[in-house]
Structures are given as C-alpha cells and as structure tokens.
Symmetry: C2
Subunit: 566 residues, 2 copies
Amino acid sequence: RFDRMGAGGPLFIDVTWHPAGDPGSDKETSSMIIANTAVNYCGLETILHMTCCNQTKDDITGHLQKAKRLGLKNIMALRGDPAGEEWEEEVDGFNYAVDLVKHIRNEFDDYFDICVAGYPKGHPEAESYEADLRHLKEKVFAGADFIITQLFFQPQTFLKFMKDCQAIGITCPIIPGIFPIQGYHSLRQLVKLSKLEVPQEIKDVIEPIKDNDAAIRNYGVELAVSMCRELLDSGMVHGLHFYTLNREVATTEVLKRLGIWKEDPRRPLPWAVSAHPKRRVEDVRPIFWASRPKSYIYRTQEWDDFPNGRWGNSSSPAFGELKDYYLFYLKSKSPREELLKMWGEELTGEESVFEVFTCYITGEPNRNGYKVTCMPWNDDPLATETNLLKDQLEKVNRRGILTINSQPNINGKPSTDPIVGWGPSGGYVFQKAYLEFFTSSEIVTALLKVLKKYELRVNYHIVNVKGQNITNAPDLQPNAVTWGIFPGREIIQPTVVDPVSFLSWKDEAFALWIEQWAKLYEEESPSRMIIQYIHDNYYLVNLVDNDFPLENCLWQVVEDTFELLN
Amino acid sequence: RFDRMGAGGPLFIDVTWHPAGDPGSDKETSSMIIANTAVNYCGLETILHMTCCNQTKDDITGHLQKAKRLGLKNIMALRGDPAGEEWEEEVDGFNYAVDLVKHIRNEFDDYFDICVAGYPKGHPEAESYEADLRHLKEKVFAGADFIITQLFFQPQTFLKFMKDCQAIGITCPIIPGIFPIQGYHSLRQLVKLSKLEVPQEIKDVIEPIKDNDAAIRNYGVELAVSMCRELLDSGMVHGLHFYTLNREVATTEVLKRLGIWKEDPRRPLPWAVSAHPKRRVEDVRPIFWASRPKSYIYRTQEWDDFPNGRWGNSSSPAFGELKDYYLFYLKSKSPREELLKMWGEELTGEESVFEVFTCYITGEPNRNGYKVTCMPWNDDPLATETNLLKDQLEKVNRRGILTINSQPNINGKPSTDPIVGWGPSGGYVFQKAYLEFFTSSEIVTALLKVLKKYELRVNYHIVNVKGQNITNAPDLQPNAVTWGIFPGREIIQPTVVDPVSFLSWKDEAFALWIEQWAKLYEEESPSRMIIQYIHDNYYLVNLVDNDFPLENCLWQVVEDTFELLN
C-alpha cells in the first residue's frame, strides 16, 4: 500500500499513534515499526504522530530516541485522548500538546521537525474559538514548524481560520486536512470521534443515498475536488493533507482530477531509495540483495557512512557476522503451511527442488496445483524486468542451475523506459548481464572449463558454504553492472558486483536454505536431508558479461556447460 | 622527450644531480624541477640522484624536504666528485654515500626509497675490489633498498659481481647498468670520466669505424642486445637500467629487439596521470584545463585530497585566488618575437584575432607566412582527437566563435581505439560533445535565444570577465563528459564540466589574454587595445550536448546562432 500510495509522489505520509496498541514497541504492526518501514524500506518521508497525556517523561523520551535511531525526522505532537471519560490535569505531567512540543525541543534541539494540529472550528474542548487559537499560537511559539488542520467540510472554514491565525501572528505553514467522504458509516464515525458537525447541505445529499456506497464515494470525490480547487485557487494554500483512513482509491482519484498525481513517477535509482537522513547520499549497493532489499537495509543499519558514487574495495564497510537473531528476524512472513504447499510437502530428490525453482520462474502451478509466489531469496514474485529472461531462466532451472538473481544487458535505453528506466529524464541507462545461481559441484567443474574460453569477457565468483572461493575478478575490485548517464550530472552506478560483500551475502544465501526451507520439515526427514545436502554441497555462482553492447553470452556459457556434461 | 621515452613503459627514470648546476633550485633546468616535471606532469616514477660531499647537513636536508614536498619518493644516494683534484675527508661532513643513506633514514624514516651505486669492477678509488664490496654492503645495511651498477662491457663482469655481492650477504635487488655505445666520442668521454677500461675486442671493432657514426650505433645496439639477452637468460637479472645520455633512439631500439618495449602503451586515463604519491587516487578533473595540464597541477598542488570517483559539487576543493606570480610562472615559454610572428606584429581589429585562431586550427600559415603552433590557452599544437572536428572548428572561428577547447561525442568506442581509447583493454569509452569558446556579447545574445530550443539537451555556462554568469546547470552539479566502462571495474569518469571550478578557470582564461597576448604590444598601442577590448567585453562560453548517442548538435546550435544574427 505504501508503494502504491507513494507512486503519486507525496511530500510526506503520516503514521498515527494509538496508545492502546503499544505504538512504540518492536511489533511489526506498531506505529513505530510501520513508520520505520515507510522511511527505510519504502523511502517515504514520514511524520510519526505521538501523544503525550498519561505518559511519563521517560517513556516519551524513549520513544523519541527510538524514532531518531530509526531515522524518523518528523513528529506530529498531540495531546491524545484522556484515559477516562473526563479530562484531568496531571501536575508536572504532559497535559497539552504544547508540553510535548517543549519537551521535544528541550531534549532534541532542532533534530525533529514538529507538526501540530489546528482546529478550524476550534477544539471541541476549548473554552472558545479564540481561546483555541491562542493555544495554537502557544504550540507554534514553543517550537512547532507547521500546522495540519483537523478535517472540515467547507473551504471558507479553512480560509477564515487561516486569516484568524495570521491575524494573531501565526506565520508558519498551515496545511488543510482534506477528508474525501468514502462511505456513510465511516463519515458518521469520524464525525462522532471528532465532534464535528456535518453541514446541512451535505447531509441533504448523503442521507438519500446512504445505502449506495458507489454514489457516496463519487459524491465524496466530487466534493473534495471542488473544495481543493477553491483552496488552491485562493493562493493561500500550498499543500494538501488527506485523511485517507488507509484507503487509497478516493485520494488517488481526487489527486488525479486535480492534476497533481505524478503520472509517471521516476525512480531516482533502480532500487527504492531510503528516506533515512543518514542514508540519503547512498547511491551504490551490491546487486546480491536486489530481491531482499529489507535484509540489506537491516544488515547495514549500523553503518555510519554509505557509499556515494563509488563502492570502492577498500571502503566497503563490514557487514558483520550473520547472527541467528538476524535470520530469525528475516524469516519468511508466510505461514508454514503455505510455504509447504509452494515448496513441497515432501521432496523426493534434488529434482523436486529444481521443479520448485522452475515453477517460481514460469508462474505455473506446481505438481500439487499451487503457484510458487516467493522463494527464500526473493521477497516478491518475479520482477517485470527479470521476465525479459523468463524463457531462458526456465530452461536452465529445469536442469539444476537454480537461479536466484539475474538481469539482462542493456545498452543505453532512455531513462524513461517503463520497464528498465530510472533516474532523471533525458538520460540513458545501461546494464551488464548478470546471472546468479546455486548449482552442484559437478556442474561447477564443467562450468569452470567453459569459462576459460570466456576469460576476458565474463567475470565470475564461485563459492561454497565453507567459503572456498574461485574468481577471476581483478584485485577484488567491484564491477559496476548498472549505471546511468544523465544531462548535467555525474555518472551514477547504483549496482555493483562487489567481491568482498559477496562473501557476506553467501553466508545469508546459504543460511536461507536451512532457515526458511529445511526447517519446514522434521529433523532427519528425507526432505530435510535433501535441502541440507544442497546447502552443504552446492556452490553459489555469479556471472557478469562485461561486453554489454553485444548479445548476452551467459546463456551460451550455460549451454556450453550442459553440452560438456553430456 | 619524457613522453616519448615514457611510452615504452619504464619502471622508473633517473634524473642526475650536478652540484655545479644549482641542482636543488627552482630553475626550470635544475635537477629538482626536471624530476618534478617527470613525476607530476609526465607521470613517470623518478629517482632523483643526490650527492653529498662538500655540502652541509642543512643543505641536504633542505633538498630532501623539497623533494618530498614535490612528491618525489626515490633518491639515488651518491658521494659525488671531489671539489678539487684530490679527495679530502671532512670531519663530521658527508664523505661517503653511506653517510647520505644514514642521514636520509635518520631524518625521513622510510619515506624515501634509496638506491645506491654498485661498481662491478670496483670503485676506481677503492683500495681493492673486495674493499669496495664491503663499502657497498655498508650502504645496503645503512638502509639502501636496491643497487644500480656502473656500466660494464661484458655480462660476465656483472654476473660475477652479483655472485660476489650475494656471497657477502647483499640480498637486495641489483640492477645492471647498460650502456649502448652510441658514438666514438661519447664512449671515450664516458670511459675517461668513469675510469673504466674498454675491452680489447670492443676497441678492435670500434677503432676502424670510428668516423662512421651509423656503424658504431648499430654495433652498440647489437652489443647491448646480446649482453642484455645473456643477463636475462641467466635468471639472475630482473630488470635493466639504461644509461641513455638523454638520447632515446638506441635504448628504444634495444628494448624493441628484446621484446620488452610496450608496443601499445595504454593510457590509464585520458589525461596524463601524475606519479605524485598524494595524487595517485586522482581520477576526475575538470575539462577546462585539458590543454593546460601543467597549470592545473600547479594550481592544485596544495590540495590534500584529490577527487576519486566523483567530483561532487560540495567537495570540489577551492582553487584559491589567481595570483600574479602564478600567471607569471605560467607565462608562455616561447620568446616574444616568436609569439608576435604567430599572433601578429600588429592587429587591425577583432578580425585579425579571428584569423589567428583559425590558423591555429587549420595548421595553415598566417598572412605573414608563419604557422600558429600554440595559443595562450593551449600549450601544444592541436591534439589528434580534436582534429576530428577541424573543419567545423575552422568555420566557426572565422566568424568569431574563438574556440579554446572541444571534444567530439563518442558512443562506446573500444578502449583500445588508437585515437580516443584509454583505460584497460576490453572496455568501452564514451564522451559527450563539448565546445568552449570566447565570443562577443552580440553573439551571446543570439546564442541564448537559440539555446532555448535546446534547453533539455544542451547544458551551458556563459560568463564574462566580471563574473556575470548565465547557466542552466541543475543545482550547480558537475556534468560527466568523458567516462569509461571496463571489465570487472567501477565506472571511471575522468573528465567533468564543473560549474564551480569553471569560475576559477574563467579568471585564468581571461587573464591569459592580457598576460600572454596584450602585453606583447606597447601600452596604448592599437593592438594592445584590441586584445584589452576582447578581454573586457567578450564572454567565455561552454556547451555540452548531453545526448551522446545522437549526432552532435552543437554545430547546429552555432549555425542557428549565425542564422539568427543574419
């Protein structure tokens, strides 16, 4: 969902904070970890909401420290709802959002951008509209950088509020909160929660169609578009904030109709760039984790510097040891039963493993009728780009070249190419053909003979689980396999085959056989022993065809190898 | 000569030290500055000879400090010839080469590699051959890293010497000094100086042909080749040192016949890489100094870091102010009369300047019958590569687009291409078309209108002497205009158009009009005023065509500009 919503090019997204749901914990569904995912894995600038009432100073400081550690830069400072029915002030406690704003500025100086909430109709609990404006001013003067408003139903409501703010000296940006009505019940609930009143003219339209979801949605979009137009046309509004309630359709539709949805969002790099402040300069990664970007970010989260421009063999930072907890953290998210259906309840030999790989490539159901939509080395179904190689990949997997990563060669396609393009427009992107696979020692022996013929053209790294390593890479230097040339810029080379980090990847790649696959089966079971055998005896191989302007020769290398074996 | 001799790929070259010739001074012909040129401008690893007798400790330390500052890493430690006829020991002075070796190790630790001289027949002043071997051992044990021998005439002389050295525990490398006889008189003089005896069988051949230079040279080459073969075949010799007496023909011939002359020396980068230890990582430079590399090295000699992999707009180090002494140092080496013949005794208008530029491009003589072989912005005659653009350049210079730098676009030529190739073999090199010129404000006005049509394709920087700067470069980022893709390596982008350093180059480029050209003429003279007018009113323009796979559009840009002006 983040990826789909992010495709429209939002300036930032919000993650709300529910004190009852353990929002600062390490659970995958906690506010903190969801914001972490948005920033680090999806590259979305994120505002983490945070409430302060009924919490200790230490708790709050702990949350903020954790947020900072994860690379979050923005906090929406809120009071939060009282624990009971009635609001009671705590002496020396956090009673208002302004207390949280002050605390953040005291403890973290200017590190965080702070947003606060504005109420165009006044906060329901405020003594008056004017008194609420004064509270807002206090929040801003305590150090908030900008304001997002509660939802409202009429543009005049916002415009009047904005003028009133300015009149009392609030000069920071104020972003209107837009709520596209998406259904009768969600509207009723929201209104109840926010203690807002729906204007009579809107009620008049909605009541008669309240059982017609589609009609209400259409009306909601219509209303939002016309409100946004009026706000933007006023010249006072420079951004819109949408209350999506985690649903993307209505907001996307409104943005498209307003003409501010990015139709062709350019990928700045071929992989998702992290929004972590430390990682912003990062523009080179090893190709090995291409299908496991989350794992790569996790393993490099402690790095102080990220490669910028070049990887450099001496500068490649250490990946550290592959710890058990790490593999545990990165275990497959799919339930065991599902994995067994995909990868086989019972394996009868190495060939059953070949079959699983082949089904993953082709998208065809396996012998039990289940599609193989993920593999231990690939979080997602096969990428569009790799599909360019589908027929070839299918052929070699059937015969025991168990591919886990590949890319075709590209000799200067426009950077706007819908499949392989990335980076600013007007540029050209290039790739060297890449193929990475597990295979038996028998095939490796033949492959090495064949590679002699391709010595000057193909670079290879061949390693087994014990770390026996065969390579022709010159001086262990990285090989750039994806690069782009753009108007008015330096060359960007976002993907490299780096011999040093390959050995770290090797540990992970072999461990995944056991952690994700072998452990699905009983100890000592034949299925488990088959995977264990592969883990102990197969080699992990990567091949690069350096001659990118010519036809990819790696398939010929594999073909020659099979021929030699016959 | 360095470039021609360097083409054979020597491990290092030697620069001798003549105490009488002020060898440590800043004169252009001093040993120190010649070694500096070899290392920094020609990229040749260099051994600077240094003698010690009749010199104070402070003098010697001063020389060594200066050598270190200039990036010299290797010293040949010698005693030197006595001041008078007879040798007198100085108490506490430097009396032997070993004193210098000790001094270098004491004062500079391991910074310098130290070479000492070995005498295969014993030093002429030594008490005995054995005593001389003991002196050599002292020098080695005092810290010398290797030995180069005095010349000798028979391979057995060297092989015996080497065994004798080993027998008394000298285990460092010993490189035989080879002297290809190049003429009767030079041989006689050398023999007199070195107090060596020429074997009878050589005398027997030479005496009868002593007036036939060619015959002696051929014999000398023949003799050297057969001696080198025998030395190399012995398996004890891993390198040869040639006494060239600054003449390259005989040595080149010997090396070619031995098969150890590098036939196709690969340029590691498109510009000459400096051998300065600090500069070894340097692999990006702005294109502006392409025809004035010496100036670039001079202006950046104080830098502590050199760009490696990327230039980076924030990291581009400061060039510092353009000082008068700097321009003075970099004045043309040609005498005033010669420059006047090339650039005109008397200018009659801007058109006479256009003519000079045009003659430089075409290689045709000017109206007074003299060829224009250099310009203030170009140390050398036009490069082979630029000649690809000769016809176009001629046309535009005639009309007042006064070009000082240009390169054609290249879309993936093999790195072994004899004209544009560089870097390891098996790679591909690329360029964006580049054009840099001075031109009048009238032409600039038209050019800017034309450039609107090319906004997305062409990057430009247009600046006058006052620093008024017009550009469409995004965020003042550098634009890579030369790059190479090689097997098993990261991308190399050795040349960039960097907007920040362009302004430093601008100061130099405008100053050269005055320093090198205007000042040839009397103050207040019409010729001088013409150059001064150009300096004050013209613009310096650079254009990059980002669309390197298409036909270079820069000529069309200029054509369109002229059309608009008509």
